[in-house]
Symmetry: C2
Subunit: 325 residues, 2 copies
């Protein structure tokens, strides 16, 4: 099943989207918003699935689906926690900062909590007042869950993964070292993120959803050139069940909690990168210093994922960087 939120008020208006992303139907009789659907997932999910099946079978049903009319699936969420599951990326970024990565990072997941009250729409401009802050994109996978009990085991976590989507976790690289040195983690260095227009249930990924990982390449275009296409199922040290269990260690998580994978990254460097920081690190290793600059005003970032028939699964994150109006 594929779901999206049309721009409308603060929380959007829930729609069911056809598998080929061509058509959609409103479902306000089932749930007005994505959050409402997730709050009552046991009741809403079979009814939404039923609509989805009809929509795919009857070409005459619904209206034309317009990705531009979509907000992020949850325009605002109660909890957005981002992992760093591709540990070799973390190792490279740390090296780029001149910081050492502890060995424990290979067996103890790293998670930070990000701002979830003002997400950007998938095609909304990224507005940052100062280029000196070092604006970077980070292409990631994220899961959305129903209610998760305190202490949920890795084994039990998988059943709570209800939806999957893509993220652009915008990062302000030059604010990070100062902020991390203060010891409280990211705050100003992580402005609002944007999500793919469409969130899908795990069954939509068929055999590409295995071991709580998405086994498909994540396609990143920067200014219309392919920047990276690492496989999200490769080199993911911690799968989503492990990240979720880690997040629920000391408290329950509410329905609508979003957990991100961290920047997707493969050890195979021929597949490119999902953020500029990683590219700069590779340049530093090769040339002694970074060559690529961070984003400039007018720059465009596109993030998408395709199945083996080259069909877009989640629609497209497509954003330009602009100064604050």
């Amino acid at each position: 099943m594929k779901l999206a939120s049309l721009k409308s008020g603060r929380d959007g208006r829930l729609i069911v989207v056809s598998r080929d992303l061509s058509r959609a139907v409103e479902v306000s009789n089932i749930a007005h918003t994505m959050q409402q659907a997730l709050d009552n997932w046991q009741q809403t999910e079979p009814r939404l699935q039923n609509i989805y099946q009809q929509l795919n079978e009857q070409q005459s049903l619904g209206f034309e689906f317009d990705q531009q009319a979509c907000h992020s699936p949850l325009p605002r969420a109660y909890h957005w926690a981002d992992g760093s599951a591709y540990v070799n990326h973390v190792e490279l970024v740390r090296k780029a900062r001149g910081a050492q990565m502890p060995d424990s990072f290979w067996h103890d997941p790293l998670i930070y909590q990000g701002g979830s009250d003002t997400f950007l729409a998938p095609t909304q401009d990224i507005q940052i007042p100062e280029l000196d802050w070092g604006v970077d994109f980070e292409a990631e996978i994220a899961i959305i869950v129903d209610d998760v009990m305190l202490g949920c085991s890795t084994k039990d976590a998988g059943q709570h993964i209800k939806l999957i989507c893509l993220v652009n976790d915008v990062s302000l690289r030059n604010l990070i070292p100062g902020e991390l040195a203060k010891g409280f983690g990211f705050y100003q260095s992580k402005p609002s993120s944007a999500f793919s227009p469409v969130a899908v249930t795990p069954d939509e990924l068929h055999t590409h959803w295995q071991d709580s990982k998405v086994h498909l390449p994540l396609s990143v275009h920067f200014n219309n050139e392919l920047y990276g296409q690492p496989n999200a199922g490769v080199d993911m040290t911690f799968d989503f069940s492990q990240l979720l269990s880690h997040a629920a260690k000391s408290r329950p998580l509410a329905a609508g909690t979003i957990i991100g994978s961290g920047t997707v990254s493969n050890k195979d460097r021929s597949v490119g990168s999902c953020c500029i920081a990683e590219q700069r690190m590779l340049e530093t290793i090769e040339h002694g210093k970074p060559i690529s600059s961070f984003m400039r005003y007018g720059d465009n970032i596109r993030i998408e994922m395709f199945d083996h028939q080259q069909n877009s699964i989640f629609g497209q994150i497509n954003q330009n960087l602009h100064p604050v109006e």
Copy 2:
């Protein structure tokens, strides 16, 4: 004006509470929930104020107000960021961890983002599976704001402070060193917080609300003994306008964002402490090692604030620590 949320569903049911906390009225014709009221504050605030005035003037109006029936003012929120505005407390806690505090902490606010999807009710048990995690309370003040623009100045921030309440920011002290060493800040070490039953508009504090600070003692009882009563307006290095402006540096903040002060702490040690960690540090300085243990199952923590006539302003946070059921 005083507002509260009766326990009901995931978001509670908004009520207006009389100044003396004796009576309340439902206001579903104005807004069903606290979040709804904040989402449309310009429209809802004058209408709610009108009800509040009637409630205070007419003793026959409304039903008996029961603090036990209340959830936290926002049972779940889109953004909960906690500052460390009482810097001498930060300095003591760092010393207790054997960590150095950088001088920059005196002029650059420290803020972390906490879990806001599963707040505890004001009288709800704190459930923590392992006492070894070092369970501690932290008594704090918090503000709740309407929509705040990216880059909001300290000068403009004050007008966005719509409500004030108290917080128990539960902390797992023994998880903190390991978590901070990883560099991403608190996550598992900060389980769900609880808030006072009642949130009040700044005008309720009269002259005690000055310079974006609450100039009244915060009363903390641990197992029915007075543990601390520091004045929240004293030694607050960063006021709430400064914390808010810091939070909005790189992105806008949505209505319903909650910003905490961090543990209230005065340099005058005779007023006691608002958390056990601070007490343990003072013991270490005096006796060479901490004497107080962190919370044990069955322990009770009460947090309240009184005006000069000994009237409770926000109602009472009153929680017991228990193992997970």
